[in-house]
């Protein structure tokens, strides 16, 4: 009986899937469906299985899968543990759901292999539990590598504007020197335990590196730029993969290096950056005249709120952050599904070609609007309860924060109200095709999901409670 460590199985599966989807790229939809379903199923199974369960024996094969076993290569240990399990599961579910949603609107023939390759990298990074240098300090280099691979999945859909894809590479690469300098300072700490300056410098450098990784304003342009020019599902996946792992790195840094949280400068930078980001997201959304760009600004506004909460004390802010991010994933993918259908039907996302699109693609337009409004916490959308709780928590600290969030959310909502007028106005392009059956099915499914979460937010309670338990 061959004992296969779980990381080997997981990464081999993704590698074989990437290779297989490249060889079978002519059957794009079938490939997306098969590998998307497999990835989603694997993510759900992984979530349900306890880590200490006995090895899973494959039927008819001399193979046993050990969930608890790890692999050790070149000084890196990859293993599934309680702390990284939610991240690995998120990567798999995101990958699977993203691929399934892309079956209705092609993101490019080479999208499946490139996104599977990116997923392989992100899952591998999340699985690292031990490295020659702590993962927090190596993470920007690895994230930089993964995001450069992610560029291919964004651009394979026939996008001629490469600026958005280029800008997504910048934050991890710019963050590298700051975190390495912090690592060196922390290495010096045991040699000079009396020198408090070293600890302070390390905390500030690590804080600066993490702040750059989080890409607040002015490093924010990738979200609106990708929203405007790139295939929506591919861009959503690239952004969400990256942000999932960045939040994991922030968690590792906050738990591994308490001096970071004790540094008042870091908390100040984080709250200021979060505030500026969410305000800019709201202001720019109010004036945006491109639905993709508007979606990008809504994402930016939501991200600003997460950054603002990150500045709070860990034990109090973590439940809000986890909930907000889970809802963000759901809302972003819902909006991306609708936007992808609209892009496919109209050929582009210029506002001139989308006048009256709601009369021809009602389900897709609704999915786009519901998903995007969820990012602003609009009532009766998936994001409402999470935003409302976050607002209450902020108001307890300082009511002015809550007021700023509320006003800038109003900016995002105003932008979408303008868009509703265009989408459901007079149809100006009579040759605009109607949505296909698969597009209708996927849009309805996502609408049901976000509406379900909006009506019964307690549906999210169990997975969020399990994630919080794992991170504690």
């Amino acid at each position: 009986m061959i004992q296969l460590p779980f990381p080997s199985f997981l990464l081999s599966f993704l590698l074989v899937a990437a290779l297989g989807s490249f060889l079978l790229r002519r059957w794009e939809r079938a490939v997306l469906f098969v590998f998307g379903s497999l990835s989603t199923a694997m993510g759900i199974a992984l979530w349900r299985l306890p880590l200490d369960s006995p090895p899973l024996v494959a039927p008819y094969l001399p193979l046993a899968l050990d969930l608890d076993a790890g692999i050790w290569e070149y000084g890196f240990r990859l293993q599934l543990r309680e702390t990284n399990e939610p991240v690995v599961v998120s990567v798999f579910v995101l990958l699977g759901v993203g691929m399934l949603l892309a079956t209705s609107a092609s993101q490019g023939r080479l999208f499946p292999p490139s996104v599977l390759l990116a997923g392989l990298g992100y899952a591998g990074l999340a699985l690292i539990v031990d490295a020659p240098m702590p993962l927090v300090f190596l993470a920007p280099v690895f994230l930089g590598m993964l995001i450069t691979v992610g560029v291919f999945s964004i651009q394979v859909g026939g996008v001629r504007d490469s600026l958005g894809a280029f800008r997504i590479i910048l934050p991890p690469i710019l963050a590298i020197p700051f975190v390495f300098l912090a690592a060196w300072n922390l290495d010096q700490l045991p040699l000079n335990p009396q020198d408090t300056r070293i600890a302070g410098d390390a905390a500030q450098l690590l804080g600066a590196g993490i702040l750059i990784l989080l890409a607040p304003v002015p490093l924010h342009s990738v979200q609106p730029q990708l929203g405007e020019s790139s295939p929506p599902i591919a861009s959503a996946l690239a952004i969400l993969f990256f942000q999932t792992l960045v939040l994991y790195v922030v968690y590792l840094a906050a738990t591994g290096y308490p001096q970071l949280r004790e540094s008042s400068a870091f908390n100040l930078w984080l709250s200021s950056a979060g505030l500026v980001t969410l305000v800019w997201g709201g202001v720019a959304a109010a004036g945006a005249s491109h639905p993709g760009r508007l979606w990008g600004y809504a994402m930016l506004h939501d991200w600003g709120l997460i950054l603002l909460l990150l500045a709070g004390p860990d034990d109090r802010s973590r439940p809000f952050i986890v909930t907000l991010f889970a809802v963000r994933v759901l809302s972003t993918l819902t909006a991306a599904t609708g936007l992808a259908q609209m892009r496919r039907a109209a050929g582009d996302l210029e506002l001139d070609s989308l006048h009256g699109v709601g009369t021809r693609l009602p389900w897709s337009t609704t999915a786009f609007l519901l998903g995007s409004l969820g990012l602003a916490g609009f009532p009766l959308t998936a994001g409402f309860s999470a935003h409302w709780s976050a607002l209450q928590a902020l108001a307890e600290v300082d009511w002015r924060f809550a007021a700023v969030v509320l006003v800038s959310s109003g900016g995002v909502i105003f932008g979408f109200v303008r868009m509703v007028g265009v989408f459901f106005g007079r149809l100006e392009n009579p040759r605009l095709p109607r949505e296909g059956p698969l597009g209708i099915v996927l849009s309805i499914l996502t609408i049901i999901l976000v509406s379900g979460i909006a009506i019964a937010p307690q549906l999210f309670e169990r997975p969020i409670a399990k994630t919080l338990l794992a991170l504690d």
């Binding site: 690895f142 590598m145 291919f152 026939g158 910048l170 450098l205």
Partner: protein, 254 residues
């Protein structure tokens, strides 16, 4: 030799070699400029800061490879729109910006905590980083964006290889450099429309990429066939004419 590598004039030469391509904004200067910067940085860290022997050569090899990847894309682009910068950019503007940046580096470098480096080397490393940021600010194409990122990674790689001389740091940084070059060269091709068919006839906008490629191959074969048959026809025709002329002339003579 150590004195030469650690001397201020050598550092000034390296700083100018890295700055000149940005002033001129031409890839023909930028790629060699990157190589000179890497070569010089490798020499400094290899000799003065005793970075173990294979690593400076590895760094240079990686950068040569990255530059070749970028060069390949530059040579494949048809319109070679690689000399565009921002709307307000000109040689004068860039020189002014770099002048201000040089002043700032000179005044503010002292407060930047780069351990183990002497002042001159510290100035040089910060100068490279500032040059990279200025280039990123001005770049509107993936080529100069890629050049800026490589310029950012040159001091990062050399400096941190000497601080942490471990393959776990050096190898991922090298891989990152190559991946940056790969993705930027891909984006350069995407930007330049090389990968997209722009010769689709206006009467048939729905022509797919595959059909376009097949048609262009078929069109090429057809042109060759027409050329060949025309050549054969003209040769045959010429002979017939000559024969006819001779035939016409011969009876006339008879």
């Amino acid at each position: 030799m150590n004195e030469l590598w650690s001397s201020a004039p050598f550092h000034i030469f390296l700083g100018l070699a890295a700055a000149l391509p940005i002033v001129l904004w031409d890839w023909r200067f930028a790629l060699p400029g990157l190589l000179v910067a890497q070569l010089g940085t490798g020499a400094i860290f290899g000799s003065v800061y005793t970075l173990p022997a294979p690593w400076p050569a590895v760094h240079l090899g990686v950068l040569v490879f990255a530059c070749l990847i970028l060069l390949l894309s530059v040579l494949q682009t048809r319109t070679v729109q690689v000399d565009q910068t921002g709307e307000f950019s000109s040689i004068l503007f860039r020189t002014l910006v770099l002048g201000i940046a040089a002043l700032l580096v000179w005044r503010a470098s002292g407060s930047v905590p780069l351990p183990l480096l002497d002042d001159s080397t510290k100035h040089l490393m910060i100068w490279f980083a500032v040059l990279a940021l200025v280039t990123l600010g001005l770049a509107e194409t993936a080529l100069f964006g890629g050049i800026a990122l490589l310029l950012w990674l040159i001091p990062v790689q050399s400096f941190f290889s000497s601080l942490f001389p471990s393959p776990a740091v050096i190898v991922p940084l090298g891989i990152l450099e190559i991946l940056v070059a790969l993705s930027c060269s891909y984006l350069l091709l995407v930007d330049d429309n090389v990968m997209w068919p722009d010769e689709i006839p206006a009467t048939d906008p729905g022509l797919s990429l595959g059909a376009q490629r097949r048609l262009s191959i078929a069109a090429g074969v057809r042109v060759l066939w027409y050329g060949l048959t025309y050549w054969v026809y003209s040769r045959v025709n010429q002979r017939q004419h000559q024969a006819a002329r001779r035939g016409q002339v011969m009876p006339h003579h008879d």
